[in-house]
Assembly symmetry: D2
Homo-oligomer: 135 residues x 4
């Protein structure tokens, strides 16, 4: 495991909400981050799909890690998410990348995929801004 | 309790994710919904504030309930959220209202407040679209 | 006319795009701004409604003026707009207000109305962030 | 010129606002659209950059053409745009693509570039939803 990945996992392990949900950091490189969440009963909505709040949590956190990979400790200022397909399957995978980074802010994009044994389907797309934490 | 509130609470109680987080439906009227979340350790981020994912869950769900109050069962198509202040305090209260409703879609707004014994501060603002579920 | 309004109109008159479109600043107070646009043929789309780009220009600029009313010279960092009804009528009126302002950024909301002799209908809702220009 | 491009250019030529601004459709294929705007004095803001409203017009219209390339006549329901760099140069080029399309709606992304003789810089990123027009 790279030092960067070890550092990212340490940060994630210090987020009680991420630990409670069971999110894992599966990619963490310059300008990129991927979070994976094995779906559990308590992530669902009344219709059996993952709750939109679970999907938006993943997107938000992946955007923050992607932005943080180039800016250091950051906060998410804002995010927009489009839910394009029910989030169902074995796990959700959120892949975020930096689209543009300045000195204090970065604009990132994230795609969330619903993954099963033999398929991977886009279920949400997000775009947002992160800012260095010492604002 | 009104029939409508009883119905709304039943729906919320059927969302495993909402139950796991501990969200309560505290207002549910035509065009309006309010969700309240007593903050717990497992809602937090590494900095002690509520995780952005908790705030966006609340906003997303409150938007959906508000839209659902006029359209019946709905899905959230998309949402945009601005985090304007750290979400800290005893509880978070998300107040959503319908800004415009058509036959199949509604555009709603939500403000999330961080509430303590003697203060109530705006911590996030969201805007989004819900659509009737039978799309 | 207040000094503030005179100042705002001077700024608007220095924006060649705003002058070309014919936008007028009709309210400019602390935390608030209103832009009015008398609709012309060259603002339209192929269907006879005002082009979405005209509506988003108005929302964007009204957000910027509202934010600027409390922060001084600002840039719009990002904006989200929902078009809720065709923009048609005699004129469009964009009313923006500050929802939350920090030291360097403000989050603002804007509602755009389509106005005719005897009606005023909400046609778009926007939310966005402005930042002081010296970033 | 392909039939599709000829059709797209005809649509654009029927939008008085697009004609007034001088936008050209430079790519129009299944799932993709590109609009190009040679910058003129009347597109600018007081600071000499293209007005945010010009950039958002381009993004909005490119999203609509991209979505329309797979769905037929569409309206833009909503859009979110992040301005990441001043829009300056000889021309702006907005490149949009469909990220996900259903039967009646599509979610599209657009990047707007500021282009000069020897550079092309990302100046805005947008994400939005289009819907078939017969709603």
């Amino acid at each position: 495991m790279s030092d960067m990945m070890a550092f990212g996992r340490k940060i994630l392990s210090e987020q009680p909400f991420s630990v409670a949900l069971g999110a894992e950091l599966t990619v963490f490189e310059e300008s990129k981050a991927e979070l994976t969440l094995a779906l559990r009963e308590d992530h669902l909505q009344q219709n059996g799909f993952a709750h939109g709040g679970v999907v938006s949590y993943l997107a938000d956190n992946a955007l923050t890690f992607a932005g943080g990979s180039v800016l250091g400790p950051v906060l998410t200022l804002e995010m927009k998410i489009n839910y394009v397909r029910p989030a169902t399957g074995d796990r959700l995978v959120a892949r975020a990348e930096v689209l543009s980074a300045g000195r204090t802010q970065a604009v990132c994009q994230c795609k969330v995929f619903a993954v099963s044994k033999d398929s991977e389907k886009l279920c949400a797309v997000a775009q947002g801004t992160v800012m260095i934490a010492s604002r």
